[in-house]
Amino acid sequence: MHLSRLMFLGFPLGGVTSTKPPAFAYVVPQDVPEVLAALARYGGDAKLLAGGQSLIPLLNFRLARPSVLISLNAVAELAGIRPEGAGVYIGAMTRQRAVERSALLQERLPILPAAVRHIAHIPIRNRGTIGGSLAHNDPAAELPLVHLLLEAECEIGRQGSPPRRVPMREFLVTYMTTVLEPEDLLLGVYLPYPPKDLGWSFAEVARRSGDFALVAAGCLVGRSGDVVDHLRLVVGGLGPLPIRLWALERQAVEERWPLPTLLRRAREAVAELEAEGDLHASAAVRRHLARELCSVVLTEAWQRAERKEV
């Protein structure tokens, strides 16, 4: 059971009884080069402070004990949503609430603000950032799932190197782990716009509104007449990373499935996925929820998709 869940239970496990942060030194760089210099200097002993909505609980329960905290909150250039090429670039320090309210994203990439609305509650989203959530890579998190679905690219900076872009499927490594090294800074993420005719849908199951998702699913669907001509489907909550159903996607398009076939085959594919259970839900429950959720999102996306004439 991972760290966020330990705390979410409402009581500390493993003999942890302190609920105040341990001592650390605090530094406030004013621009990206200063951040990179601080990372190069303090390296593995330091943690970056973005929104703090995942890190500060860890500090409060003393499950993290960095010797240095490098705040990103004064680096204005790291926040912002701006068009780039055939898509949009979102700075890592962009608050989740800003993404939720962005008119540009609601128009061009609506699945993203829709998914963000499921993240915790408004006060959390007022501080939490896009970059922080991606770097944290909680298995139940909405943002890694949606960024995988949208085939986003993460831009990473390091002192002495030019910024590099890493596709989402490489960026996410495993449970709470990404390719980011101690000296790396996630600068932002590029999201290409999907074709305009695609329908989209995102849904999750949580015991209460705002809780960590037990299972989540997102998809993009394109239609030519009554058959699928484009499919992307990602399921989260079954294991350490969101799972993209690449084989199903390929087969659906190659074999030109109508909706009933798509729904049936998707359910079969999800039923065969490996799942891990925990205190909140067993593997069997998660697989069941994932199957049902896929039907929900595929149906909704299908209805939203433009029915292109063949």
């Binding site: 609920t19 530094v27 200097r41 909505q53």
Partner: protein
């Protein structure tokens, strides 16, 4: 810019406006905002429940937006403006219409969750004076209340948004 110019320190001098009053203070960098408000400033209306952002009792307004003060380090608010529950009443110490409506509609019992809820609602109404019930419920979902069952809270809010409350 040399990294030695960056001062990594265990304390930091901050300037912050709290309920309209500007103050400057040297604080330990690991001091949570909730503890700064309660222990350093003596503003004990902000309550601490879970210390990991789930319960909502610690909610205050940062530049008008609701945030969890238990998930903010005090130095993060340097240069910003805070509103606590002590700051929403009338100029001569009276109650805000939301507070008066809560009183009239029994929207609190033990009162532990109440300041957080009032500030979230205060921020909502500042942006949307007549929100629909679904929106109010969405805001309330970020606050755990064990006493009221929330129905009286919804009634209290409706009374204000339907115009039964006095002008602030």
């Amino acid at each position: 810019m040399s990294v030695d110019d960056l001062q990594a320190a265990y304390t930091r001098a901050i300037t912050v406006t709290v309920n309209g009053q500007r103050l400057t203070q040297e604080v330990p960098v690991r001091l949570l905002l909730s503890d700064f408000l309660r222990q350093t400033l003596g503003l004990t209306g902000t309550h601490v429940g879970c210390e990991h952002g789930v319960c909502g009792a610690c909610t205050v307004l940062l530049d008008g937006e609701p945030v969890r003060s238990c998930l903010l380090l005090t130095p993060e608010v340097d240069g910003h403006s805070l509103t606590t529950i002590e700051g929403i009443g009338g100029p001569s110490g009276g109650l805000h219409p939301l507070q008066e409506s809560f009183r009239r509609h029994f929207a609190l019992q033990c009162g532990f969750c109440t300041p957080g809820i009032l500030l979230s609602l205060y921020a909502l109404l500042a942006e949307e004076p007549k929100p629909d019930e679904a929106t109010v419920r969405e805001v309330l979902s970020g606050h755990l209340c064990r006493c009221t069952g929330y129905a009286s809270i919804l009634r209290a809010v409706a009374a204000v948004t339907d115009g039964e409350g006095k002008e602030p």
